[in-house]
Assembly symmetry: none
Homo-oligomer: 304 residues x 2
């Protein structure tokens, strides 16, 4: 019977529900009815108004307030918020997403979205984890000091290469990308000491890219490879090897996860280079942003 109201409930950012169940026997009957409702479905309780909850517990609002105080809350709104938070936290992670696996034949869009997003996000995170900052640093240094940067890539990796080129260009670096192998070879032949050549190939076996990188290296340029497989042939012709960490789902050989991983690496390099010369970079970025301004229309608030 010994009843001590207002149990110090200071620290439980977490187990509010647990805390309440613990206090349950020490509560008065009417308060217990409230408590049971709350414990049974916190999320639902959070949605109710105090009057509503009181009615559901077959008691008065006053008792609900007393209950709030009994479990250490200031008042009903605070309880509500805590309950909402609590309920949100105990949401189980969505159902079985096959890591790196294939999409099941009968999958609906929701499943597909969950699976893809999961794998994509994983690829990005894991790539970042295994990326060697020291090597990145060297590459950033080289690019930052380069007279000229060539970026090579074929097929899917071509997009990434092109993207990198555009980014570098945008901050005032002299960078090139060539969709065509022959042109790329020509360009590589004109590189020299102090220049940088970046070859991107997911498999690391794309002969075109390897060939071009080889040429660049022979001319004295610093060569960088970006691939998912560190011991693939492309590594043999690169001074610095950066790796992605994508486990590709067979079905989508469009290789999106790997491309996202590549883009992340490219982005890191880009920011690294940009950070080296902040002022100059900022100016360049602003100038380029301004340049496309006339091709934008007003923000357009619709909503009748």
């Amino acid at each position: 019977m010994a009843k001590s109201p207002k149990i110090s409930a200071s620290h439980e950012t977490g187990g509010l529900i647990v805390h309440i169940s613990g206090l349950l026997p020490s509560l008065s009957p009417a308060e217990q009815r409230v408590a049971r409702l709350v414990v049974a479905d916190p999320a639902d309780a959070a949605r109710r108004t105090i009057t509503d909850l009181a009615t559901a517990a077959e008691t008065s609002e006053a008792t609900v307030i007393r209950f709030c105080r009994s479990v250490g809350m200031d008042g009903y709104p605070q309880l509500r918020i805590r309950l909402a938070a609590e309920a949100a936290r105990r949401v189980e992670p969505p159902d079985a997403r096959v890591v790196g696996g294939d999409i099941p034949p009968g999958a609906d869009l929701a499943q597909i979205i969950a699976t893809i997003a999961f794998n994509d996000a994983r690829a990005v995170e894991e790539t970042a984890e295994q990326l060697d900052p020291a090597i990145c640093e060297q590459v950033v240094e080289a690019i930052g000091a380069a007279g000229r940067i060539d970026v090579y890539g074929a097929g899917a990796s071509g997009f990434v290469a092109s993207d990198f080129q555009q980014k570098l260009h945008r901050i005032g670096r002299i960078a090139f990308y060539f969709p065509d192998v022959h042109t790329a070879l020509t360009s590589a032949a004109l590189l020299g000491r102090g220049d940088v050549a970046v070859g991107i190939s997911h498999t690391g076996t794309t002969s075109d890219v390897i060939e071009v990188l080889e040429q660049a290296r022979a001319r004295g340029a610093t060569t960088v490879a970006l691939t998912n497989f560190p011991r693939s042939p492309i590594a043999d012709v690169a001074d610095h090897v950066l790796t992605t960490a994508a486990r590709e789902t067979t079905y989508r050989s469009g290789a999106t996860a790997s491309r996202l991983a590549q883009l992340t690496v490219v982005d890191c390099l880009f920011v690294g280079v940009a950070a080296r010369s902040r002022a100059r970079t900022k100016k360049a970025l602003e100038a380029t942003a301004e340049a496309v301004q006339s091709h934008r229309v007003g923000p357009g608030r619709r909503r009748g």
Copy 2:
């Protein structure tokens, strides 16, 4: 005209904060002040009373209510609860990685990598969370049944557009991408009922893309917009609006996070379309893979 597209506000069980940031530019100034407070610290906002929040945002309670309605809530209490839930669910990043924020001036490569990867992964996850499967389904249906698909995008979004085109093409769909506005317009003019036009623009304000999409729609094609801002002008010319959820770091206006988010959406659509006709798709993929085989060298693929 006035076929108003469905803004996927319905499906936000998850990314309320993200949803709000997407809507931010379409809000009125006073509401934006409120929104910014909310986005900056949801947990704190949930603790405040409406009067308190209004004061903090230097506006009136009425505006806060308007804000609640603008983002799809019934009223302030509901917003509070949702915010509390949201805040509880999000695990704070261990060290000070400024979410969506800028890279600190003195940052070393390791920090840069961590920050970028975090934001990139976040963008992918949050995009998937708020993506409406029902709308995706409609888009997939349309594309699957389309006689022809045009994909439009300018600048950074151009890469994504081009990527989507390539993917569709690879599974045997008739798809086009045009780097040039005039060519794109010409193509759009030749679309008709049953065809699909996809416009990609992060800001949703790229006039070139909007114009082309408008043209396509006028010719009877089904139009799809992919943007970060659901109430931007591009939404007005689209039958279906798909949204990404990237909070862009100012420094890297290369807009990588948003591009990753876009690629994720594109990938979902791609897999969705591919899944519709599995056998045919698989055959096409294998054929295209074989075609580039001769451009691959040696063993490469270590690790199994």
